[in-house]
Amino acid sequence: MNDATLSAPILDAPRTAPAEGQSFRVVGRPLAHHDFIDKVRGSLHYAADWRLPGMLYARVVRAPVPSARIISVDTAEARALPGVVAVLTADDVPCNRVVERASGGLGELAVEMPVLAKDRVRYAGEPVALIAAVSQQIADEAAELVYVDYEELPGVFDPEEALAEDAPRVHDEGNVLVTWNIRRGDVQAALAEADLVVEGEYRTQHVEHAYLEPEAGVGWIENGVVTLRVSTQVIEHAAVIAQILGLPENKVRVISSYMGGGFGGKEDMTVEPYLALLVWHTRKPVRMIWDRQESLLASTKRHPFIMRYRTGVRRDGTIVAQDIDIIGDAGAYPYLSARVLFAGAAVSCGPYRTPNASLRSRAVFTNNVPSSAFRGFGAMQVVFGYESQMDRIAEALGLPKEEVRRRNFLAKGDTIPTGETLDTTVAVGETLRRALDRLGEPTAPSGPGKRVGRGFACNMQPYGRTIWFRDRASAWLSLQSDGTLLLRSGVTDLGGGQAASLCQIASEVLGVPLDQISVYIGDTALNPPAGGTFATRQLYMSGNAMLHAARELRDRLAPVAAEMLGCTTEELVFEDGSVRVAHGDRKGHSISLAELAAGCEQRAVHTSHLGIWRAEAGTFDPVTGQGDSFPDYTYGTHAAEVEVDTETGEVRVLRYVASHDVGVAINPLRVEGQIQGGAMQGLGYALMEDMALNEGQPGSTLFANYLIPSALDMPDVEVEIVESGEGKGPLNARGIGEPPIAPCAAAIANAIADAIGQRPTRLPFSPERVLELCERAAASGRKEPT
């Protein structure tokens, strides 16, 4: 324990890393605090837990068909129903279009999305009208009385079919939203010279975030400002909402309640524009909660990918080239597809040196429900591709699977296909070792007809936004007169401890006990912008902002404390709610933070501070396919043991180990929680979950039929946290929100292939599909390489 090093160099330039040999008081401890306590008590108020006098209840009227022309919308009966206050259609929207620029202007089609469909419907579930009424029951009655006359049009539901010249156009502008190309070296020459070229095609499905809290919010007008308190990851949508209403930006305020999960599904607007329109038109408070079934039908989904890999290797397993083509089903509107497909292409080679690469990805419109952000964000689907390829290479060359990977792992200083050089350590090898060690001895099959197999998958997942967005975040903190601390940040909290970790960081720097820190988050009017919780960016961005704000505040307070205590600032330690002299003549003397606050007041020294942190910036050239992509990556390995019932195709996961390098674990309890939860969501993706869209209609919109894992379906996720000590987050942490969902499908695929000798290439690995593979294996007579 060496607290002096933490507080000593307080006047140096902002820096992310802790000093050499530094130890922490609060950081690194498995602590349950702040929102944890309210959550366990049940006293946290989510978006739906808000009631105002005279509040109205809302309902969205949605199109039942995936592709149609709207001939007419008749709202007369709905309006006439007693208790109905407003029925709105496209004509009532001041500015009925949202234009997404997800690529940051790097070449996607400028396609407009209406807030309410006016003359054309492009997916089943598209909003057509809005109702506000004095009760939910009346609003629901009224929704059934809105008569829309649809003329059905041919639709296109398969992204490959949508690429055809004569395919129905989802938008007049074209069906290909964006094409990304990342190129390095000479792929064709390298493939021609390779000892072996392994080809594989992999397909993934539509899946739903399935947060337990459905989309919800309450809106009202206060001082002429449309105020929304909603479950959202991004309060910055306030600007878009203002645009839709035709209001100045400062007349819309968005407050984010603590979310009951988001996973990317609350990164785009959900209830916001509809709620805002109803509030604006009725001038009354309005509550909108999407039904679960509505959420399943119409909320954004994860992009299904079709991935085609051609990987060239030398006889010793060294990768010489990757030729990769990815098609992502964007659904009916752009949302964040351009960025998702960029991320997919950027890391499609995985954590492996790839001297020659041709990586192409396309986002293609269909008349399916729109796809957008979902934990893993394109970088997740491709793990299934590249880690299936790695196993195939090992099988074809007769090399150990671990060895093939080790021969190709990236290292600090290596150049990746975008042309960037990795500037932090790549501890993927350590995660691989830890995961395999933890898996230990194999389990014997439980009976005849059962086969046990093992597999693992390594991954790299960006943390932080695409670098050309020149990301920044701010945080504000204030030492109160009684020595307590008040934090303000525009961060939104998904349940990943986004707010609490800011408290931990501030506590670490200023020595204020956690229970004497209050944190205010997610409010566009009152809290400094933090830029939304997505892309595993908040610990990285707001964590750094808070770290630097706290250090800068401490640097301002320290001279006052030194003066009061008669020592130098270098001799001070901030801890346990006081400032203590740790060295020198005055060693042992101390003042409380309340006394320090009073001292500052006398000297007219501000005890509050706003810190702004800017991430590294860069540019990407979409023509050459070279440039800057992401600030850094989190690496990991998951290892699985499965048992396959070869008669029914059922796959039981017997053991599951997940290991990631998080640089430094700010709160190991939360890190473990993120990894366990991410892995479970990934296991659902691998084995159970599928929206099963058919001609644009989901197989079911019942939560009973959308199968997320229960407590009984999967084993405990065993966690191995690796702390390399290097990362670009605060105190050298790496982001861990998204990384743990990504390797699961590949790890399970590799385990199934190991068990039965046939490789699944289409997600999810339902019993039916696995049984087909078992039968194919039986027909081929023996277990053989795939």
């Binding site: 309210d38 366990v40 049940g42 837990d49 999960g261 679960r292 929680g673 366990q676 229960s710």
Partner: protein, 165 residues
């Protein structure tokens, strides 16, 4: 349909409320009685976020009408708190193990686990899994929840074993 006055016994207290027959117990507890820990998650009885104790056993408040609850004892998570608002030992276990992330499923999870513990015995981890199968969690992967419940039921069972018969 006309509203009627019913009397509900919730968390040991009588509440007289005007309800329509079609008002769900969930909505009356959440909106009328202010028990916001009883939450809408799916309306199908699948997810478990609206779990309450009904005469000592867990039920889905989204699959009962408030009028049906007259004459029965309803308990929600709030009933576990001490008079001074202190956490129940089971909640303490959840806290200690970090068995919540977004927290949306937590009340239902705790209520179901509490009913299990009240039934006595020392359920195994597998039995706990079986009991919690209808309380879905999308954040934690269940491991920490199972750890928390396991610790609590073990403590309760040990304490019972120590008591003279």
């Amino acid at each position: 349909m006309s509203k009627r006055l019913i009397s509900l016994s919730v968390n040991g207290r009588r509440h007289d409320v005007w309800v329509s027959p079609s008002d769900l117990l969930l909505d009356v507890l959440h909106d009328e009685l202010g028990l916001s820990e009883v939450r809408y998650g799916c309306g199908e009885g699948v997810c478990g976020t609206c779990t309450v104790e009904f005469d000592g056993e867990p039920v889905s408040a989204c699959l009962m009408f408030a009028v049906q609850a007259e004459g029965h004892e309803i308990k929600t998570l709030s009933s576990l708190l001490g008079e001074d608002g202190s956490l129940h030992p089971l909640q303490e276990c959840f806290l200690r193990h970090g068995a919540a992330q977004c927290g949306f499923c937590t009340p239902g999870m705790v209520v179901t686990a509490h009913c299990l513990a009240e039934r006595g015995g020392r359920p195994t981890r597998e039995e706990i899994r079986r009991e919690l199968v209808g309380n879905l969690c999308r954040c934690t992967g269940y491991t920490k929840i199972l750890d928390a419940v396991e610790e609590y039921v073990d403590t309760v069972a040990s304490r019972k074993a120590e008591q003279p018969r």
